[in-house]
Structure formats: structure tokens, C-alpha cells
């Protein structure tokens, strides 16, 4: 039934939304629905019924001619139609570059982890200062690779900016993508739950190592290392699950991507300011004070604050609907 509805939407996509045309579309839908239900009643399969209804729809030009509809070419922009091959490419690229971004974030969070652990291990042999200097190299290397990944993925994903403006999905595709989204939902939930559990458990490693084992710098460093690795895994899971789900939502133009909401990209806008600022703040604080053993706390705190912020935004938006 959804297929028929989106087929009709597609046919009427570029027509002016006059009351007469809206009425005509409703009548056509009702008529097609009746036919579909009767086919089903007579034992036709879902696909057969849809096939027959669509093949007996006729030619939209016939209606346009008869009703003297001015299909406006300048007044109303003709919406781009997205076809099957393009959709497959979009889904593939969004997932692939989304994973590259996730990898970048993983590197950003594990970079201080490696630094803290490495410095702690080597400082016994070579002194704290030389150890810290030595481990600045992998720290910056990892951040540099991460920034490279961000820029590369960003440029690659820029080609799909047009998805932020309204478009029409080829009628048979809506159903396919909706099915993909539904079958992805359990994985999405699993990844989010796993991420949240990791986040909650992460401080435990630090606490248990410092409290139960011994109050010792080395175990403290191991605790920080494990904590950051767990947070990094969690954030990677969030991004991986989020980009995949977002891609389906964007193609279906749901939620944040609904046509009327497309202008409103508050969370994205805030993120693009907050994270570079956080990075700058982290580096500034660390270099000015040299307190690398504690400055990493910026990351989990900002992560949790940002998560809370986007949750509040989506709740407020949910209320408005």
C-alpha cells in the first residue's frame, strides 16, 4: 500500500498544490486502494496487486492535458528525483565515510590514552620529562591522522549536500529503504545499548584499579588508558550506528530530515563549533599546565554534556510535533 502511495506522490511531486489537485490525488488514491484491496481479496499476492494497480494507472500527462495544469518550471523548482543506483551509492558512501569519521574520533580519544600509559611506563626508565616528550610524537601523529580522516571524509560527503534540500525518492525505493531501516533497527539498538553500557562501566576500571589494587601512578595510568579505550569504543559505536540510521532517515526524509525541518540543523551546527573548541581547549590546558594526567577528563565530560544537549533538543522538538 505504501508503494502505491509513494508512486502517486511521485507522480504529483512537481504539480502545484491546489485544492482541486489535492482532491484529485485523494480520489485517485482511494480508487487505487479499492482496486488493490480487491486484488488481495481475490488471492493476488502483494506484489501482483501493486503491479496491476500501477500498470492500470495510465499516463499522468493525460490528466495534466485535460486539467490544463500549468506544470511550473520556474515558479516551483522541480525536485530532483533520486534513483536506485544513486541510492545504493549514497548508502555505501555514507556508511564508509561515516566509519572513517568514527575511526578518526577513536584515534582522537585513544591518542591521550596511549600518551598517558606510554609516559607512565617509560618514565621509570627515562624520567618523566623525556618520556612525555617521546610520547608526544604518537599523540600528534594519531591526531594528525584523525584530522586527515575528518577532512577527507568531509569533502567526500560534501557531494551529498543536496540531500539536505527536498528531493523525491523513486517510488519503488521508499519501501526498500524503509525495510532496510527496520531490519537495521535491532543492530542500532544493540550498538547504542553496548555504547551506553561501556560509558557507564568505563569509570569503574579507573576506580577499581586505583582503589582496590594500589594507589600507584602506574595503575592509575592503566585505569585512565582503559577508561579512554572504553569511551572510544562507545563513541565509535554511537557514530557507526548513528550515521547508518541517519542515512536511512535522510533518504526517507524523516525526523530531522523532514522537508519542513531541513533548515533546522541545530545539533550539527553546535557540534561543529563545540568539538574544535574542545580540542583547542584540551591542547591549550595541557600545554600550559603540563597536567596531561588529568586534562583527558575534558573528553568524557564534553562527550556526556553533548549527548545530554542533543537529547534535550530532540525531546523539545518531539514536544512541538
Amino acid at each position: 500500500m505504501e508503494t502505491i502511495k509513494s508512486y502517486l506522490d511521485n507522480m504529483f511531486a512537481n504539480m502545484p498544490k491546489t485544492p482541486a489537485l489535492i482532491k484529485l490525488k485523494e480520489d485517485l488514491l482511494s480508487s487505487m486502494e479499492d482496486k488493490y484491496n480487491e486484488m488481495k481479496y481475490h488471492g493476488k499476492s502483494e506484489n501482483e496487486a501493486i503491479g496491476i494497480v500501477i500498470s492500470e494507472f495510465g499516463n499522468i500527462d493525460e490528466l495534466i492535458r485535460e486539467l490544463n495544469i500549468e506544470v511550473p518550471s520556474s515558479m516551483q523548482p522541480v525536485l530532483p528525483v533520486i534513483k536506485k543506483e544513486e541510492t545504493e551509492r549514497i548508502i555505501h558512501d555514507k556508511k564508509f565515510f561515516g566509519n572513517l569519521i568514527a575511526l578518526g574520533v577513536f584515534l582522537c580519544i585513544t591518542a591521550p590514552a596511549v600518551f598517558v600509559l606510554g609516559t607512565s611506563v617509560m618514565s621509570i626508565q627515562m624520567g618523566e620529562d623525556s618520556a612525555a616528550t617521546l610520547f608526544l610524537f604518537p599523540l600528534f601523529l594519531m591526531i594528525a591522522v584523525a584530522v586527515g580522516l575528518f577532512i577527507f571524509s568531509g569533502i567526500q560527503l560534501d557531494q551529498y549536500k543536496y540531500l539536505e534540500r527536498p528531493f523525491v525518492l523513486d517510488y519503488s525505493l521508499t519501501e526498500v529503504i524503509r525495510k532496510k531501516k527496520t531490519s537495521y533497527l535491532p543492530y542500532f539498538t544493540l550498538k547504542i545499548v553496548a555504547g551506553v553500557v561501556l560509558c557507564i562501566l568505563s569509570p569503574l576500571t579507573l576506580i577499581s584499579l586505583t582503589v582496590f589494587v594500589r594507589d600507584n601512578d602506574f595503575y592509575g595510568a592503566v585505569g585512565v588508558f582503559l577508561l579512554l579505550i572504553m569511551v572510544a569504543c562507545a563513541v565509535t559505536l554511537f557514530i557507526n550506528a548513528g550515521t547508518t540510521m541517519d542515512c536511512y532517515r535522510q533518504l526517507l526524509q524523516e525526523g530531522d530530515y523532514a522537508p519542513e525541518r531541513k533548515e533546522d540543523k541545530l545539533v550539527g551546527a553546535v557540534a561543529s563549533v563545540v568539538w574544535p573548541l574542545t580540542t583547542a581547549g584540551y591542547l591549550l590546558w595541557s600545554f600550559l599546565t603540563g597536567d596531561w594526567h588529568i586534562t583527558w577528563i575534558v573528553w568524557p565530560i564534553m562527550g556526556i554534556l553533548f549527548g545530554a544537549f542533543s537529547a534535550v533538543v530532540s525531546i523539545i522538538r518531539g514536544d512541538k510535533q
Partner: protein, 108 residues
């Protein structure tokens, strides 16, 4: 299946015929056409609704919203007096058309 080119001039006649006795709505009319012709002619949706629009513009039929059934309101069509006159004209025209064309049809 009959080609729609041949039958085009008589789509309106079929619809008017089906409105002679009682008001009806889109799907019922298209279903009746299919059943009466044993599936030899299936009127496309766009053809049907173009015809409704044309007939209404010419004052041959009028439309109104029916009672709500299963959560939807169907548009019903009613034959007007002008429509009846037009229908009779078309019947006469077909008689003559048939006579003329028949003269050139040979059993082979």
C-alpha cells in the same frame, strides 16, 4: 485488450451509461467497465479521472462527497439532464458510425 486509441471517443459514453440508473464513484465505475467487457477493456485511472473532469466541466455530470465509509469520503458522480441528452446523442452517433464502418468490414 483493446487499444485505447480506438475507443477514446466512447469512454465518456461508457461512464454516462453507468450513471444512468444510479450515482457512482471512480472505482465502482472502472470495475463495472471491466466486468461488463469480461476484462477486454480496462479503463486506466488517468483516463477515468480525465473523463470525470471533462464531463463535469461540460455540465454532463456533477460531483458530491459521499458518506464516510471505512474512514474515507468518496466522490460520487451524478448524471445531469444535459448529460442524458449528450448520452442519447452519442448513442445515435455510434449507430451511424457502426453502420458506416460495418460497410467496410469483411469476414475473412
Amino acid at each position: 485488450m483493446i487499444s485505447s486509441d480506438v475507443i477514446r471517443g466512447y469512454n465518456d459514453t461508457m461512464i454516462l451509461f453507468l450513471l444512468l440508473h444510479d450515482d457512482s464513484y471512480g472505482y465502482e465505475i472502472s470495475k463495472n467497465i471491466r466486468e461488463m467487457t469480461d476484462g477486454k477493456y480496462i479503463m486506466k485511472e488517468t483516463t477515468l479521472y480525465s473523463a470525470f473532469s471533462r464531463l463535469e466541466k461540460n455540465g454532463y455530470i456533477s460531483s458530491y462527497s459521499g458518506d464516510e465509509t471505512n474512514g474515507k469520503r468518496r466522490t460520487y458522480y451524478k448524471l445531469t439532464n444535459e448529460g442524458l441528452v449528450y448520452y442519447k446523442e452519442k448513442c445515435l452517433e455510434w449507430q451511424i458510425t457502426k453502420e458506416v464502418v460495418d460497410k467496410f468490414i469483411k469476414e475473412m
